[in-house]
């Protein structure tokens, strides 16, 4: 090559060739415009190979979207596979050092058993685009003109790669934009569908629905309401109060008051009114409710409301009220019936003795000779039984003298004893053995004695009923009073009956819930009502053994009760009720 320097003609030719090459290089952009990085790299290699007759070309182009760069290579003008290109890249790193930035601008290395001159060219100022490595077996490689051509080619490639990168970025952005537009369009379409559905729903739901502007003018009213009232949309929206024409004349004032107060003060409102149904001209009760919708600042956007037909509900409420009254009456009748039977028994027992004794007495006197001593004895017994009957009557009168609920100091022991006395014969008839354990120091409670006695009677009867049909063990029942830790007075009724079903235990106190044939299921519910009216509570629990214990507790005292506690007769409570006293 130095010969070129020696012959000026050669030199001119060389320079001419170089200029031709440069011209062809400057035409490159037309060749690779629009291409991607790999295509640009391949074109670059083609051009360099054609211009410089190289033994090794290695191109590495960094891919901003990936860690692995694009690697291409040619060995003795033959393209190699990408895997081989990567191996060549690795070998070059082995020959020239790990950091390609520090590779010498030219060097001689033994590459695959051949000595070659290697010159790297960075693509981009800092090599950020990638690099081109050229190798030739010629020891004078690269000559000055070759370096020039390489530099220009590399610059052209950099521009093309920049362009490609920009284009790809643009495309990526455009694609992303497209994607977003598609997504948004889909979302909008879905939202539009949803909105249409909601508006459709508002129109179709079986409840009259409406919205009102903050000034009180309706701006939407659904189909249901229009159909019901026979009004047209135009009519309803014509003036704020047009809807009032559908309201029963008697309800208009309350409806308008509630409506305008809600609008004026910006609050939710609810009012019951009768609306006229256009089909048959009947008025049906509706519950109208509106809620105020507010924006972020709390300003009212509009009111959204519904009018629900509650006529059937109202009717059933009325029916229920009637049924409840009927039931309460039945309960009273039943209770009176039971009491009457008990009273009859209590009175008839001594009457029986009186009549038998009197009859015996007369017969003894009529005898010949008259049995005076016997007659005297039977007359004495007659008087005793008469007194006994009179005591029973006095006790009953004490028990039922008050019909109104009253608050008085109540000795729960005494109250319990009286109930036990009334029920005793029934309990005996049912084969129930009742034991009484009444606490000595029981404080008085403030309450209605008759009501509390109804509770006790109910618990005793339930306990007895729970043991009906019990054959394998004795029908034992225990009634107990005690004062608990919190100064409550407690009464327990323990039976040995069928016990509680855990699955239904929580329903025991529900009205109309019963496990008994012929039971009405109101006894415990009424008992609960009474006890809770005494600020007490009533509960049931299963026994350790068979049966259940029902208890209620009531706060002791009340001022009146505690005053009386201090002065009452200590003999009033016995630790055990002597049942035969009754």
């Amino acid at each position: 090559m130095d010969e070129q320097d020696k012959h000026p003609g050669e030199e001119v030719k060389r320079l001419q060739r170089c200029i031709n090459d440069l011209v062809s290089l400057l035409a490159l952009p037309a060749l690779w415009s629009g291409g991607d990085a790999s295509r640009i790299a391949r074109t670059l290699m083609d051009v360099l190979q054609r211009l410089l007759q190289l033994d090794l070309i290695y191109v590495q182009i960094n891919d901003p979207t990936s860690d692995a760069p694009v690697e291409l290579a040619r060995l003795a003008q033959f393209p190699v596979t990408s895997l081989q290109a990567r191996e060549i890249g690795a070998e070059l790193h082995g020959l020239l050092g790990d950091d390609s930035q520090k590779w010498p601008s030219r060097s001689q290395r033994c590459f695959r058993d051949k000595n070659i001159s290697i010159t790297p060219q960075r693509l981009g100022l800092e090599g950020e685009i990638g690099m081109v490595v050229l190798g030739s077996e010629r020891s004078d490689f690269p000559k000055q003109t070759e370096e020039l051509l390489l530099g220009v080619a590399a610059n052209q490639a950099v521009m093309a790669l920049h362009e490609a990168r920009r284009r790809s970025e643009q495309k990526r952005l455009a694609d992303e934009l497209d994607l977003r537009v598609v997504q948004r369009t889909a979302e909008l379409a879905a939202a539009g569908e949803q909105l249409k559905l909601q508006v459709g729903l508002l129109d179709l739901i079986p409840v009259a629905t409406w919205t009102i502007r903050p000034d009180g003018t309706p701006d939407f009213i659904n189909q249901k309401w229009l159909e019901y009232t026979g009004q047209s949309v135009d009519y309803v929206l014509s003036e704020p109060q047009a809807w009032i024409a559908a309201v029963h004349p008697d309800d208009r004032e309350v409806a308008l008051t509630s409506y305008w107060e809600g609008i004026r003060y910006g609050r939710d409102f609810a009012v019951e009114t009768r609306f006229r149904r256009v089909q048959d001209g009947t008025y049906r009760w509706h519950l109208n409710r509106a809620v105020a919708l507010r924006d972020a600042e709390g300003k009212i956007i509009k009111f959204v409301g519904t009018s629900t037909d509650i006529e059937d509900l109202k009717q059933s409420q009325e029916t229920l009220r009637g049924t409840e009254a009927e039931l309460a009456k039945m309960t009273r009748v039943m209770t009176v019936g039971q009491l009457t039977a008990s009273i009859a028994h209590e009175v008839n027992q001594p009457l029986s003795g009186i009549i038998t004794n009197a009859g015996t007495c007369l017969r003894m006197l009529d005898a010949d000779p008259p049995n005076i001593a016997g007659a005297r004895e039977t007359a004495r017994r007659t008087i005793r039984d008469g007194n006994r009957a009179s005591e029973v009557i006095a006790r009953l009168r004490a028990l039922f003298s008050r019909r109104q609920a009253t608050t008085e100091p109540v000795d729960l022991n005494e109250a319990a004893k009286e109930v036990v006395a009334l029920l005793l014969s029934k309990l005996q008839r049912d084969g129930v053995i009742l034991r009484c354990e009444l606490a000595d120091d029981l404080p008085l409670v403030a309450g209605d004695r008759v009501q509390l006695q109804q509770v006790i009677m109910n618990l005793l009867q339930n306990g007895s009923d729970a043991m009906i049909g019990l054959e394998d063990r004795s029908r034992r029942m225990l009634i107990q009073t005690e004062r608990d830790e919190t100064d409550q007075v407690r009464l327990n009724v323990q039976d040995s009956g069928i016990g509680l079903n855990p699955q239904t235990a929580n329903r025991l106190f529900d009205a109309f819930y019963t496990t008994k044939d012929g039971g009405m299921g109101i006894g415990l519910s009424i008992s609960q009502w009474i006890v809770e009216n005494h600020q007490g509570r009533i509960w049931a629990q299963a026994n350790d053994g068979p049966g259940a214990t029902f208890s209620f507790s009531i706060p002791s005292g009340g001022r009146m009760a505690s005053q009386l506690n201090s002065v009452r007769n200590p003999a009033a409570s016995n630790s055990r009720a002597n049942l035969k006293d009754f």
Binding site: A341, A344, H345, N348, Q349, P350, L351, S352, G353, I354, I355, T356, N357, G359, T360, R363, M364, A367, G374, E377, T378, R381, R384, D385, R388, S425, K426, Q428, R429, G431, I433
Partner: protein, 123 residues
């Protein structure tokens, strides 16, 4: 009718056990009284009893239980029930087998005598 037939009285109420035997003795019957069905069934007078006056409502064995037991032991002693309970459903369908009558307390001496006479005729 044997004037001295044994009539047994079973009632947990003491006043009945006091008054009724005196009246029955005035009628001319021999009388034994018992305070429970169990006591009556266990007594040696059971075999001699020609008529038993049974209270229905008693602790332990009820009058019906005693009647059932007598039937079960094949000792159909005629029974006159007495009760202070007015509930007809309780006893109306029990008047069968050896039961003669059910007297509601208080009952008259003539009704009682009539019932016992019916019972003794039956025996």
């Amino acid at each position: 009718m044997d004037k001295h037939s044994l009539v047994s009285v079973v009632d947990d109420d003491e006043s009945v056990r006091e008054s009724l035997p005196d009246l029955l003795k005035e009628f001319g019957f021999a009388v034994q009284s018992f305070k429970s069905g169990e006591e009556f069934l266990a007594s040696r007078y059971l075999d001699q009893t020609k008529c038993v006056i049974l209270d229905i409502a008693m602790p332990g064995m009820s009058g019906f239980d005693v009647q059932r037991e007598l039937t079960g032991r094949n000792r159909p002693i005629p029974v006159v029930f007495i009760t202070a309970q007015r509930d007809e459903n309780v006893w109306s369908n029990r008047l069968r087998d050896n039961a003669v009558a059910c007297l509601l307390k208080p009952f008259s001496d003539t009704d009682l005598l009539h019932a016992i006479r019916t019972a003794l005729r039956m025996e």
